[in-house]
Amino acid sequence: MASVFKDEAFFLPAEHTYSLLPFRFIRLDSDRYVAVNEVGESRVLLRHELELFVKKRLPQTSSLYFALKASHFVEDNDSDIAPDLLTLKVRSKRARIARFTSLHMFVVTLRCNHSCRYCQVSRQSEDRSAYDMTEATADKALDFTFRSPAPAIKIEFQGGEPLLNFDLIKYIVLAAEGRNTVEKRDLVFVIATNLSFLTDEILNFCRDHAILISTSLDGPEDLHNANRPKPGNDSYQVTIDGIRRAREALGVDQVSALMTTTKASLLRVTEIVDEYVKQGFKGIFLRNLSPYGFAIKTRYFNAYDSDNWLNFYRRGLDYILELNQQGCAFTEFYTATILQKMLTPYETGFVNLRSPAGIGIAGIIFNYNGEVYPSDEARMKAEMGDKIFCMGNLTTESYEQMMLSSALLTPLEDSVAESVPMCEECAFLPYCGSDPDYHYATQQDFVGHKALSGFCKKNMGIFRYIIHKLEDNPEARQILESWVNW
């Protein structure tokens, strides 16, 4: 009598009935590879698993197959929805491009009271008013700012020490708020300051206009003072007092700090993190030196290489994860930015991890003299005598002339990572970006040879380290996932 049941083979999928969807892969370690699709979804797999999958020999009943299918690496007869879902995610990831240039930086003065050895801006003495921005220049910069199609606009005041020209900051804030009654943008102000010149009048104005304060804190007192010398050698105490006063006046969340890693910092990452915890910050951005401004002149940039910095970063991240395991909620912000790209369909606004590059279309900077640059780094390079990135001057060129200038469009077009050798096939491309400033500074080329690039080496090292943590350490994964805005 014939069985009422079909043979087992009837229920198994026919061989080779799946199609690959676009993805890239890269070696993760000696045994494993990581495959990443067009929108950053990833799977870690062994070499032979990768080969079986690509050559259509991976059983369609295997858990790996289902995992790859769930992450849109494959479509088969059961479902053809994956390309549509990928399309939507690509569109979400790229949505920022149409809303370009949200960050506008105003260099209201080049004057500064500090003489930091790594300072990325050529600074002048305090009494040289020739290096202050004028109201007329500020008005033209505001005209430019509100030409941006971005619904959210951040105006950041930089220097030098911007509080040395606080009258102009007040002028710009009031003028921008006036324009915004019509423009209706989501307008935010930030002052990047060393806090030396903080007064009650300044704090009251900041409170009344919801202005954020961003300052520099390089670590414990001796390290901070060594990195950031000023007359009186009291930079640390001035900073700590300023943070306290600003928090009291504006609220704890209105004040943030940034650190810069010097050679003296390399063996002290736990102390630096401890200092941030002690001062009540909720996280830290472990930031390496950039090859610009005084960091080059004083040879500070060459004081350590990518390997040195990666060791610093790894020890720092491990320590921060330990702190979290002990109940201290604390975030490493660069890692959090990358996790956002790895684990969500949303792109971040971080300037240096975008393709097309963030220059000009993520942020733009108005120098004190009216010159317009597509990034702070480009402005620093100009202060050293190379104006290759100068888009024009507010007094002589229009918005259209500057935004369509070859100074902006050539590095943007040349460096699109999807068409750059090595980047175009790199699995980490959806997490990374292009940095024409960096590669021009180090290789005199907007694209740069990525096999020789410190930017590439640093970011690849970080991506691999984060993926290792996510894959191999469930407790770390739980903490890292808590850093992401879902």
């Binding site: 199609s19 676009p22 690509v54 790229r94």
Partner: protein, 110 residues
């Protein structure tokens, strides 16, 4: 190391282009610029000679390790070509669809 001939600081690896495409060999060579300098020399048959030079700035590299990694990367490039060949049409379709009806396209049309 099998298939590799040594000549002083130089090592020669012969690659059959019936197995690996010339593009895969070139892409692999490009990736190793930090560890060695490479010259590709075609022969009359379908063999490409990959000439590794470890002199000068590359004197500290481990030649056997570098060439071994080169061979592994060549295998990876071969796999990448299969993926690229199969997925290029759907990738183009996804990207075209993703950017369609976006303000970027509309602006360009204006």
């Amino acid at each position: 190391m099998n298939g590799v001939v040594r000549d002083g600081d130089k090592f020669v690896l012969s690659v059959d282009t019936r197995v690996y495409s010339l593009e895969a060999v070139k892409k692999t060579a490009y990736k190793f610029a930090a560890a060695t300098s490479i010259i590709l020399q075609p022969r009359k048959d379908e063999i490409v000679r990959v000439l590794f030079n470890f002199a000068g700035v590359h004197g500290r590299s481990d030649p056997e390790g570098v060439i071994s990694d080169f061979c592994n990367e060549l295998l990876d490039q071969d796999l990448r070509e299969i993926i690229k060949r199969e997925t290029a049409p759907i990738r183009n379709l996804i990207l075209a669809h993703a950017f369609s009806r976006s303000s970027l396209v509309e602006n360009n049309e204006v």
